[in-house]
């Protein structure tokens, strides 16, 4: 593939998320399943993704709030593991993700004779979010500038371009989409960014990881160029 003569700069955007209560809650697994059938997909989005932008500690063990609650509050470690491994990117849309959640919980309900309950003050509260997306004055003129710009971006900017993007473009994020616009030139970098596991790290760490991947790519290329010279 030919490299395009000109590729527009990458426009850095940012977002702010408001969390909203839905009034729905669950105190045991049956209630969790029942509520899952009725909540909006915005709620599924929030509990898988949006919660990473809402004030709460990013639990490193369980990447979604369903798995964390089942583990911590229902003490059902087996189900916690099954829910924790769900990769939301395996599903074309949030409706598919909802069905998978319900399916796994149904299976667990069939396996167990006693339904575990959480303490009354430790119920699962279904929430949903609204996202305000806005432009920033920042741009990235060329891929080689990414290593310098990425560490200066806000956590929410990283969230928008690297995580939220996957809900807008299946199997891709905004950075890789932009790099692909350069044709074959940065396919190695596209591949390297594609291997970054975004589940287990806080956003600040994810930002560092992305910058490291880009730096490693360009220092490798620089080394190759020096070697060829």
């Amino acid at each position: 593939m030919e490299s395009p003569a000109t590729q527009a700069p990458f426009l850095v955007r940012d977002c702010a998320l408001s969390a909203y209560g839905t009034g729905l809650r669950a105190q045991n697994l049956r209630e969790l399943r029942d509520r899952l059938t009725e909540v909006s997909t915005a709620s599924i989005y929030y509990h898988f993704w949006g919660s990473r932008l809402h004030p709460s500690f990013e639990h490193p063990e369980y990447p979604n709030m369903f798995a964390a609650w089942v583990h911590r509050s229902l003490h059902d470690h087996r189900l916690g593991e099954r829910l924790g491994i769900i990769d939301p990117m395996d599903f074309h849309d949030l409706e598919g993700l909802r069905q998978e959640l319900i399916e796994i919980i149904e299976q667990r309900l069939e396996e167990t004779e006693v339904v575990a309950w959480s303490a009354p003050d430790d119920q699962f509260y279904f929430m949903h979010s609204r996202v305000v997306v806005f432009d920033t004055p920042r741009t990235i003129a060329h891929p080689r500038d990414m290593a310098e710009v990425l560490p200066t971006l806000s956590n929410s900017s990283i969230f928008y371009h690297f995580i939220d993007a996957r809900m807008r473009m299946p199997d891709l994020d905004d950075f890789r989409a932009w790099l692909i616009g350069y044709g074959d030139e940065f396919l190695d970098l596209v591949e390297a960014l594609g291997t970054v596991d975004l589940f287990f790290v806080p956003l600040a760490e994810l930002r560092r990881t992305l910058a490291d991947v880009v730096s490693a790519h360009f220092s490798g290329h620089l080394a190759q160029e020096v070697h060829h010279d």
């Binding site: 940012d14 702010a16 998320l17 408001s18 969390a19 909203y20 209560g21 009034g23 809650r25 915005a42 809402h54 004030p55 709460s56 500690f57 639990h59 490193p60 003050d121 430790d122 119920q123 509260y125 929430m127 949903h128 979010s129 609204r130 996202v131 305000v132 997306v133 806005f134 432009d135 920033t136 004055p137 200066t152 971006l153 806000s154 956590n155 929410s156 900017s157 600040a204």
Partner: protein, 428 residues
């Protein structure tokens, strides 16, 4: 100092703490809201968490170019008696409120509505804080802007008759704000969840010199060469001060130099508080290593110094609202051993920012654990500070308000896209 310089100073001070990306983000969110008139209304200018937040939130909002003001309603004794009862009832206490007090409550709001009419009628956004000014909305049927009711109280299990009465007012708002999901009641309007915040520049949270910390410790007989655990809270059964003393005793068997500081306010106006304090003195039994400090309400710098002097902060509550004392301790780089309840669960994460415990034995075990693994104690402290920096500072609080205003102004869509249009000075 000119207004412009003052604005610049406020912004620079916050930027130094939270980073330029956070401040930049606030400016970008505020840009499309310039020209809006935002008004906050509560019932006191000083004292209490709401006044503490508004004291800094309002100037910061103005510094971003949003015309923000703060109005305070005033009332007579019966009004305050009534609203004090509301406060207790929303937290679940069965409180019967005489009709005469409810009448005074409504009359005071009607009178304040007339005083504030010109300010509130045309405001674009009105934040009404807590139940005290909630009925104001009924006096503005022709209001121009969006009105938001902000409940700072844990209303998760209210005394139903009182909530039923208050709902006549709160249900009329365009949106409600609660601190966390479990504090909220079902409402006919959108329920936004915005946790409270601390101000890193306030007396209670600002950096202090070692000399000042040393002086405060000297004044209160605390030996800085020895290990110190601290609980800051009023003397209330829900804060479990007796459980803290028991935990201290259990831990002291393995840490002979350990000292405990229990710092709280005067209980003069609270008969139950006075009884708890008597029990605390009895349990301390003249142990010279237990320091029971009765501090005045404005002893913010002293509390700040005590938190910084402690090795570990305890908040062993049996029932808790959000638990801002936990946030304050984490901000000072201290791991927190907290009761497994309320908002403490949001902030204290086992092995990351501290430990959640259910018993004095659990607290004692974790005190010993942290003193044994000093490197973990230090690491958790660092993690806690970063956690607060990202999630619980005033700048995040303001960002949440701005996002909510955008959401209210844009109707019901889940995703609101704002595009820059030739911002001045950007060269676009």
């Amino acid at each position: 100092m000119t207004e412009g310089t003052l604005t610049q100073t406020v912004i620079e001070e916050y930027q130094r703490i939270v980073g330029s990306d956070v401040i930049e983000q606030l400016f970008q969110l505020a840009e499309p809201l310039k020209g809006l008139r935002v008004v906050h209304v509560n019932s006191t200018r000083v004292g209490g968490g709401v006044a503490e937040i508004l004291t800094k939130l309002v100037p910061l909002s103005n510094a971003l170019g949003i015309d923000t003001s703060w109005e305070v309603i005033t009332g007579r004794d019966e009004f305050y008696q009534c609203t004090k009862s509301f406060h207790n009832a929303l937290q679940g206490n069965h409180v019967a409120i005489p009709k005469a007090l409810l009448k005074a409550y409504e009359e005071v709001n009607a009178a304040n509505a007339e005083v504030l009419r010109s300010t509130l009628q045309d405001a674009d956004i009105v934040f009404i804080h807590d139940p005290q000014p909630a009925p104001l909305i009924t006096h503005f049927p022709e209001r121009k802007g969006k009105w938001i009711w902000r409940c700072h109280i844990d209303a998760g299990k209210p005394y139903r008759p009182v909530w039923k009465y208050l709902r006549n007012f709160t249900s009329r708002y365009d949106a409600s704000i609660f601190s966390i999901a479990s504090f909220a009641q079902p409402m006919p309007n959108p329920i936004c969840l915005i946790p409270p915040s601390i101000d890193p520049l306030s007396d209670k949270n600002m950096d202090l010199s070692e000399a000042e910390i040393e002086t405060v410790c000297l004044q209160h007989g605390i030996d800085r060469q020895r290990r110190t655990i601290l609980q800051v809270s009023r003397f209330d059964r829900f804060k479990d001060p007796l459980g803290v003393i028991e935990a201290y005793r259990l831990a002291k068997r393995f840490a002979h130099d350990l000292q405990l500081v229990l710092a709280g306010g005067s209980a003069d106006d609270d008969p139950e508080g006075a009884a708890v304090l008597t029990e605390v003195y009895a349990a301390a039994a003249e142990d010279p290593d237990i320091h029971i400090l009765m501090l005045p309400a404005d002893a913010n710098r002293v509390i700040n110094a005590l938190q910084r002097a402690a090795d570990i902060v305890i908040q062993k509550s049996l029932r808790e609202g959000f638990g801002l004392t936990v946030t304050e301790a984490l901000w000072k780089g201290k791991p927190v051993i907290g009761g497994n309840t309320g908002g403490i669960r949001l902030q204290v994460i086992n092995h990351h920012t501290g430990f959640l415990v259910d018993t004095p034995e659990g607290a004692a075990y974790r005190i010993r654990y942290l003193f044994h693994y000093r490197d973990q104690l230090k690491e958790m402290g660092l993690k806690g500070r970063e956690f607060v920096r990202e999630n619980f500072l005033l700048t995040r609080h303001l960002r949440d308000h701005l996002a909510l205003i955008h959401a209210l102004r844009s109707g019901g869509s889940e995703r609101i896209e704002l595009h820059r249009v030739n911002l001045p000075g950007t060269g676009e």
